[in-house]
């Protein structure tokens, strides 16, 4: 399928005036944000800024109290559940890497492939050449070819992070939401991950949530800073990091 979005006129992701509160605590507060097709966006912000909650809303895990969330300019995500949204082409990588630990690396990727996901389809499924090639390619990209038959649970933290990204690739969505991909990675791994994401961005729209400023800088893309569930500042990394209020929030001056 053609992953490049042809309708570059409308936004890939469009959030406007979104509110969510848990038992009185306002996690997301009048949040508005748009993501153009093919764009890669880095989201930063202190703990509790609502980064993860935002992703929950986009992926249908949490329903907003009010506000619009549009995908591809047309689809209202607030009405759909996780499965449907995933089928639409939104992939997500969790903050703490979640892979299927008791299955092999390649089975993890196999499960991620965006082929027939119906009960019937999986029950009578038989491996095809195309599929195994896709998997080999992904394994290549995430540098796990040797580990293909190892249980995912036995991978190192960094490898798990990559495997999860690999699963995103296999899923081949229009929009990737990547939550803290380099948490707990060595500098080498962090660098490689940045490379990987840039590579992915060539063919996909990506939203990255990350604390690691050097990493964000390395990505060199537009940055949005969230604070208390609303957009505090937007722009290049330098603009944002020189923004008074951002500094205030981070250094609590």
């Amino acid at each position: 399928m053609n992953v490049m979005d042809t309708r570059a006129t409308s936004a890939m992701l469009y959030l406007d005036g979104v509110h969510v509160s848990f038992d009185g605590f306002h996690a997301i507060n009048n949040l508005s944000l748009t993501l153009e097709p093919g764009e890669m966006r880095a989201i930063i912000g202190p703990n509790g800024a609502g980064k993860t909650t935002m992703m929950d809303i986009i992926t249908g895990k949490t329903k907003p109290d009010e506000g619009t969330v549009l995908f591809d300019g047309v689809t209202d995500l607030t009405r759909l559940d996780e499965t449907r949204i995933a089928e639409l082409g939104i992939g997500r990588k969790f903050q703490k890497p979640t892979v299927f630990e008791s299955q092999t690396v390649q089975d993890n990727l196999l499960l991620a492939l965006n082929v027939d996901h119906s009960v019937r389809g999986t029950l009578f499924w038989r491996g095809s050449k195309a599929e195994s090639e896709r998997i080999d390619k992904v394994l290549e990209t995430i540098r796990l070819t040797e580990a293909r038959n190892r249980l995912a649970g036995s991978l190192s933290h960094g490898q798990k992070q990559w495997l999860e990204i690999g699963m995103l690739l296999a899923q081949d969505p229009k929009l990737l939401l990547v939550d803290e991909p380099v948490a707990g990675m060595t500098d080498v791994e962090t660098h490689l991950t940045a490379e990987l994401l840039k590579e992915i961005n060539k063919t996909h729209t990506v939203m990255v949530v990350e604390h690691d400023m050097t990493f964000v800088r390395e990505l060199g893309v537009k940055v949005t800073c969230l604070h208390e569930g609303t957009v505090l500042a937007e722009g290049t990394i330098d603009q944002v990091s020189s923004n008074e209020r951002v500094i205030e929030v981070y250094l609590g001056r």
Partner: protein
């Protein structure tokens, strides 16, 4: 109540003895009547009672009251009958002369229910003018029950003298009851009678009105309207009664579930052996009562008060033991915990079965726990009332404990964020043990209360475990208030369903409703929202 009535009677008997001795005994029919007691035949005894009661003989009262308390001894061979006083002194029932000792061949004159009723009736008319108010009230009421024409004169006589208000009304009602059934009573009298009964307005009054047989038209009409008015008022009361039953059932459910709300709700541990903790509490009560019975009978009324802390300690200790030896290895594996504790429950049951035997054990109700009182037209039994009070007290104490004590604070800390708590120097494993102990201890306390209304048998726990889980899940896990509301909701719902659907269908309906409810609100009535759910 019957016990202290007979006590009053005894004193009254003795006072009458003095008079009795002074006078020379009658001769003739009275002796023959008395002799009948010795035939050990229920119908003879009945005749004897009637004859003696109506004889007007001074000995009539002592004889009949002795008969009631099983102090009337009869010797079937010599046909002699004796009255043994509470003080052990005995007299010849026929003559009233004191006798040295009652022959061994004599045995107490036996009664059956029919005779007990006629004894009550006889005593009623005999004690209408007793100096003691309580006795007079009793007498008036038993006359009301028996409403025999013979009692009319004594009633009128008593009414004339009576000063006490409540006794006066009671006598009035008794009189009405008699007149209603008196064939030669005038229409006016009967109409008055109906009015009086209508005023009384309870089921017994209605019983009399419905059962009065054929009467003059005006009376039947009045009775009919009286009945309908009583019925309508009773209908209202029955709703109140259902509500009360619901509350009382709810309190039992809450009591059984509250410990679970701690172990399951707060710790997330599925303790299938929870019911057995309840059972252990009940058996503790049994042991306490046994010791008291054998050593310090005087303390019996306090047995429960003694049992409560003990049950808490015993069950709590066992709880801690379980947590240390089994549960702690299974944290984060709720389903395994469920299986292990189920096995544990089997072991505990069989252990109790081998120790105390498989049969039920008797746990007595202290006097303040037995009996009932009338509130308007509904009966409220003391044990249910106390259990309700007790449950609420336990609940309040538990809440306070969680909120204000150090342990409570630590518990909440550990359950909300174990790692953080640990890093702040809280000995989490100690807290776990104590929390589980607390839950089990409360289950033990529940056992003390349940021993008052249910079997004390090895199966006691089994009958509560499922209901308890329903309550906790329905109310919302991790929320004590949810458990409270859940318990009372289920209790009341159950009691309003029961008259309609019957006990079995009612219970089934409740279960189905809960299943459906869980679909709507998978985390119960008072569910936690947001990130806490994931944790």
């Amino acid at each position: 109540m019957p016990t202290n009535l007979s006590a009053r009677l005894c004193t009254f008997v003795l006072s009458l003895f003095l008079i009795a001795f002074a006078l020379p005994a009658f001769a003739g029919p009275f002796e023959d009547a008395v002799a009948k007691f010795a035939n050990d035949d229920f119908s003879d005894t009945e005749e004897a009672i009637a004859a003696v009661a109506s004889s007007g003989n001074k000995l009539a009262f002592p004889i009949i009251s002795a008969l009631q308390d099983g102090r009337l001894m009869a010797d079937s061979d010599s046909k002699k009958v004796y009255v043994t006083g509470a003080d052990g002194k005995s007299i010849d029932a026929a003559t009233g002369e004191a006798v040295a000792s009652v022959p061994d061949s004599a045995s107490a004159v036996r009664l059956n229910n029919r005779l007990r009723r006629s004894v009550d009736a006889a005593l009623g008319s005999l004690t209408l003018q007793s100096p003691d108010v309580g006795t007079r009230l009793q007498a008036a009421q038993s006359v009301f029950k028996s409403h025999e024409e013979t009692a009319l004169e004594p009633v009128d006589a008593a009414l004339a003298k009576e000063t006490n208000k409540s006794v006066k009304t009671a006598l009035g009602e008794a009189r009405a009851a008699i007149l209603l059934f008196k064939s030669d009573a005038t229409e006016v009298e009967k109409l008055e009678a109906v009015a009086t009964l209508r005023a009384r307005g309870d089921q017994e009054a209605m019983a009399l009105l419905t059962g009065m047989g054929d009467q003059p038209a005006s009376v039947t009409k009045a009775a009919a309207s009286a009945i309908s008015s009583i019925q309508s008022s009773l209908a209202v009361w029955s709703t109140v009664q259902n509500a009360w039953y619901g509350l009382s059932l709810g309190s039992v459910l809450l009591l059984a579930a509250i410990g679970l709300a701690i172990t399951f709700g707060v710790m997330g541990v599925i303790n299938m052996a929870h019911g057995e903790m309840v059972m252990i509490g009940a058996y503790t009560t049994f042991v306490v009562q046994e010791v008291i019975r054998t050593r310090y009978p005087g303390l019996f009324d306090y047995s429960l008060l003694i049992a409560v802390p003990l049950a808490f300690l015993v069950a709590g200790a066992i709880g801690v033991l379980i947590e240390r030896s089994i549960i702690r290895f299974l944290y984060g594996r709720p389903l395994e915990t469920l299986l292990a504790t189920w096995g544990l429950s089997l072991v505990l049951q069989q252990a109790v079965r081998t120790m105390f035997g498989p049969t039920n054990r008797e746990v007595g109700n202290p006097s303040w726990m037995s009996g009932a009182f009338e509130l308007g037209q509904i009966t409220i039994t003391y044990n249910r009332l106390w259990i309700l009070v007790f449950t609420l007290a336990v609940f309040a104490i538990l809440l306070a404990m969680l909120r204000y004590t150090a342990l409570g604070l630590e518990m909440r800390a550990v359950t909300q964020n174990r790692r953080m708590a640990a890093s702040m120097g809280i000995a989490t494993s100690r807290v776990d043990a104590l929390t589980f102990g607390l839950g089990s201890g409360i289950a033990g306390i529940a056992g003390v209360a349940l021993s008052q209304i249910d079997n004390v048998s090895p199966n006691l726990g089994q009958s509560y475990i499922i209901d308890s889980f329903m309550v906790v899940v329905f109310g919302g896990v991790g929320n004590l208030w949810g458990t409270l509301v859940g318990a009372f909701t289920l209790g009341i719902a159950n009691k309003f369903l029961e008259p309609v659907a019957g006990a079995v269908l009612g219970k089934i309906a409740i279960l189905v409703l809960i299943i459906l409810f869980i679909q709507k609100r998978p985390r119960g009535l008072f569910a936690l929202k947001g990130r806490a759910v994931e944790a």
